[in-house]
């Protein structure tokens, strides 16, 4: 499910947009942060400048008021009451002044303890205290001694005013000098003005510093006058901070503010985690460092909050978008799922599988429409294919039947083997396709053997049909001379031959007594004669091929065969067969091949020629029909040919046996062979009587020929077709008595006692020929 387009879309889009938002937010945060911190710096500078200005103004006014009083005292003489009045007015008129004192130098005081009136504020009123009345002499106080030591006005280090105002304060002390009678400059008094540190704190508090921000005011000695934690007041900042790095940072900042500029740094916050920003300036009046410290996190908090809100909004947006993408993608891909299901069904052969509805013009709808068209076309295609296949297999069936019919037109079904005392004939036609245009035929009559081998132009069905025409003409021909027969055959084939099919034909007549061969050739290859171990072509004068023009004449050729000669007829399918490199077999190879086979029987030699041609051709398909006919001429032995018929009555076997024994004895055949042939004959004749279905009045024909090397026996009858060699019962030999069958022994005897056995159905007759090779004398 995770691999679905919908989920991948959601994942990819969400990741992409999420990443973009995250990057945006990061950049935004960075920029905003920098800007905020920049603004913070500016703001803090402004704040601290403002604070400095305010404090300076305060201190300036204190200084100037005090200075003014000092100036007056230096020049005019006041009564103690007058002095006190001046002092009271100063405090009353300057709100920033917490308290003020005039401490006369002991030399100028009337009283022995000195004169030091002090006015200060308490609860909204101005009270008076006499510093001279205190236990500790005021002339030992810092505020008294320091200005003397400095020789000018001084801001005294802050202190707790014990016995006076009882508050933390700092004092501005101004020495007042007069000239004595000698003109010497002598100290008259010290005028002071106190500033309560509380006052300064109020100032600092007005600064907007946030929850964790605070202002710091230090004295010149580093004592904290204003700070966040009241417990740290009046302590050295170094003691309060304790962190060496922060102390060092502050030291550096204070150092760099000595020139009057502002300094700033980032330091670890004191009370909260995180970093704080510190800005430090200096009060020129007093030389006091003043600083403000902000929490960076606090400053950036709104930014963080903003970022969080943005993130929340982004996540919600992403979720909504994922939902939308999911809806759209599901709508788009739902038809695809249905299509996938439909194609699965299609693959299983269900061509009518339902398709999703194709609405709209989007790509999916187009796909659905294409799929639908494909489904329709496929269905049509399969229907067509089925029809084509059916018609093709019908055609193949027809062709197979046609082949059988065509082969049946040839003697012995296209593969003939004829053993006769005067000759042996072997012939085979092998079409290149199912049916072909090659033909052969032979017929022995009146001591003459008629031979024909032909080759119709082209191959396949047209050639086969023309071949059928040709062979039926040939088989109908009478015993006219070959040249005359060829001329009349040519006329017959020419008639109505608009397709201009033609046939090359050898037609010969062999006189079995004399060995004279008369033949005529209609454009056919010359026959080859094998004699004395040498094979060579017979010279011939050939006429034109048959079927193209009428009223032609054909030359007659004659040759004399002697016993032992082999006559070979063939069609050009042999010499014009090609190997894989398109090389032709050629006539020379044909002749060599025939010569090689001269020592073999006609059958073995014929098969050898075929296998030679086949191995030459290799994987190349047979290009043309092939026909080969071998005739071994042995000559005639007159007087050893016998024929008779016997009726199928009870005396049948007796008659046959007597006839056969007598003929074989006359021919000088050995007694054991006679006994065995009688046995064979009995089995054959008994079969006829048993299985032919003929009534006892019918006959069986027996023909016997005894040659020098072979004798042949032919039994024929007009009964129903029955091939005893294949159809009769055949007992399993060697079985023990319990399992052996009683019948079916005869066929074993026939095959054991003869050299060849062949059954054929000829002209409505069962013809069974057996031969027996005779031992050479």
């Amino acid at each position: 499910m995770w691999g679905s387009i919908t989920n991948r879309l959601i994942l990819v889009i969400s990741l992409t947009i999420g990443t973009i938002i995250a990057i945006d937010m990061a950049i935004d945060y960075r920029l905003s942060r920098d800007e905020l911190l920049m603004r913070l710096q500016l703001e803090s500078e402004e704040t601290i400048s403002g604070a400095v200005t305010d404090l300076e103004t305060l201190l300036d006014s204190v200084e100037s008021s005090t200075g003014f009083l000092a100036t007056i005292l230096a020049q005019r003489e006041y009564s103690p009451e007058g002095l006190e009045q001046l002092l009271r007015d100063l405090v009353a008129l300057n709100e920033d002044i917490f308290g003020s004192a005039i401490a006369l130098s002991p030399g100028f005081a009337d009283q022995s303890g000195g004169f030091a009136p002090y006015f200060f504020r308490r609860d909204g009123t101005i009270e008076r205290a006499n510093l001279a009345a205190q236990d500790e002499n005021y002339q030992t106080k810092d505020w008294y001694l320091e200005p003397i030591a400095q020789g000018g006005p001084v801001w005294v280090e802050p202190y707790f005013d014990a016995g006076g105002a009882e508050v933390l304060m700092t004092t501005y002390s101004v020495p007042v000098y007069r000239s004595d009678t000698d003109g010497n400059r002598v100290l008259y008094a010290i005028v002071t003005a106190d500033v309560a540190l509380q006052e300064l704190r109020e100032y600092m508090k007005r600064l907007r510093l946030g929850e964790h921000g605070f202002g710091v005011l230090l004295s010149q000695q580093g004592t904290m006058l204003v700070t966040r934690d009241p417990a740290n007041l009046m302590r050295s900042y170094k003691d309060a901070i304790r962190k060496p790095q922060v102390i060092a940072a502050f030291e550096a900042m204070i150092e760099s503010t000595s020139s009057g500029r502002l300094a700033g740094d980032e330091i670890a916050c004191a009370a909260i985690p995180g970093n704080c920003r510190a800005r430090v300036g200096v009060l020129e009046t007093t030389g006091w460092p003043i600083g403000i410290i902000y929490s960076q996190d606090e400053v950036l908090a709104p930014l963080r909050e903003y970022q969080l809100r943005t993130a929340l909004v982004s996540v919600s947006t992403l979720l909504i978008m994922a939902l939308a993408v999911s809806l759209i993608a599901r709508r788009l891909t739902a038809p695809l799922g249905m299509l996938a299901e439909a194609s699965d069904q299609l693959a299983k052969g269900q061509l009518a599988a339902p398709l999703p509805p194709a609405t709209g013009r989007d790509e999916v709808a187009k796909l659905v429409r294409s799929f639908s068209a494909m489904q329709r076309d496929l269905s049509q295609y399969i229907t067509n294919l089925e029809e084509a296949t059916a018609s093709r297999s019908r055609l193949e069936g027809e062709l197979a039947a046609a082949r059988e019919i065509q082969m049946a037109m040839l003697p012995q079904g296209g593969s003939a083997s004829e053993h006769q005392p005067g000759y042996t004939l072997w012939a085979w036609v092998r079409p290149a396709k199912t049916v072909g245009g090659d033909l052969y035929t032979f017929r022995a009559a009146n001591n003459q053997l008629w031979l024909a081998v032909g080759d119709v132009s082209d191959k396949g069905v047209p050639a086969a049909l023309f071949m059928a025409r040709a062979i039926s003409f040939i088989q109908q021909m009478g015993a006219t001379a070959p040249d005359v027969a060829l001329a009349s055959l040519n006329d017959a084939l020419t008639a109505g031959n608009d397709n201009c099919m033609f046939v090359t034909l050898f037609l010969g007549r062999l006189d079995l007594s004399s060995g004279e061969l008369c033949f005529a050739s209609g454009g056919h290859a010359a026959p080859i004669i094998g004699r004395g171990g040498i094979a060579q072509e017979l010279e011939q004068t050939t006429g034109p091929a048959l079927g193209l023009a009428s009223d032609l004449t054909f030359p007659i050729n004659t040759a004399q065969l002697t016993p032992g000669d082999r006559l070979v007829l063939y069609t050009d399918g042999i010499d014009e067969s090609f190997d894989e490199h398109a090389e032709m077999f050629g006539e020379d190879r044909v002749i060599a091949c025939i010569q090689e086979g001269l020592g073999l029987s006609a059958e073995a030699a014929g098969e050898q020629i075929f296998s030679t041609v086949d191995s030459f051709a290799g994987n190349a398909p047979q290009s043309d029909d092939i026909t080969l006919m071998l005739v071994d001429f042995r000559g005639k032995h007159p007087g050893h040919q016998h024929q008779t018929t016997f009726t199928l009555n009870n005396d049948l076997n007796r008659n046959c046996t007597a006839w056969l024994e007598q003929r074989l004895e006359q021919a000088g055949v050995a007694p054991d062979v006679i006994m065995e042939m009688v046995l064979v004959q009995e089995e054959l004749v008994t079969n006829v009587a048993k299985y032919s279905g003929l009534p006892a009045s019918e006959t069986v024909s027996i023909a016997l020929e005894v040659g020098s090397a072979v004798l042949s026996l032919e039994i024929s009858d007009a009964g129903k077709a029955f091939n005893p060699l294949t159809e009769s019962e055949r007992a399993e030999l060697g079985a023990d008595i319990d399992h052996a069958r009683v019948g079916g022994l005869g066929v074993h005897l026939i095959t054991q006692f003869t050299s060849s056995q062949r059954y054929s159905r000829e002209n409505g007759r069962n013809v069974l020929r057996v031969t027996r090779n005779l031992p050479s004398a």
Partner: protein
């Protein structure tokens, strides 16, 4: 050729000797079968087919012998052949006929066999 059949019964030894003379073929087989069946009906322990004068045998004749062999075996009796001529032997050989049938090459073998059998019977008594 005709077939002459001579039957000699030796009831003492429970042996029938059937001598064949001539040809056992399609024509002569039916009569011979009848004759042989008559002999077998006697129920003797051993029936010997003496083929000394048999010149010819075809599958029809073999069929008769086959049937007789089956019959005697089912009856618990025996059928044997004696004195087969070479060419008759060849026919039997070709057909691998009756491999378990006792075959005696000549009369001496047969007599020996009969004597042995008789002694055995006597011992049994």
């Amino acid at each position: 050729m005709e077939l002459t059949t001579t039957v000699t019964l030796d009831e003492a030894r429970s042996v029938a000797r059937v001598a064949l003379h001539g040809a056992l073929n399609t024509d002569t087989a039916p009569a011979f079968e009848q004759r042989l069946n008559d002999v077998l009906a006697q129920g003797l322990a051993l029936t010997v087919l003496d083929m000394k004068e048999l010149d010819y045998i075809s599958s029809a004749g073999l069929r008769v012998i086959f049937k007789a062999a089956k019959h005697t075996k089912s009856e618990g009796k025996r059928l044997a052949a004696a004195n087969r001529k070479p060419h008759i032997d060849k026919v039997f050989e070709i057909l691998k006929a009756l491999p378990d049938m006792a075959v005696f090459a000549n009369d001496d073998e047969l007599d020996e066999y009969l004597t042995a059998m008789q002694e055995k019977t006597r011992d049994g008594e």
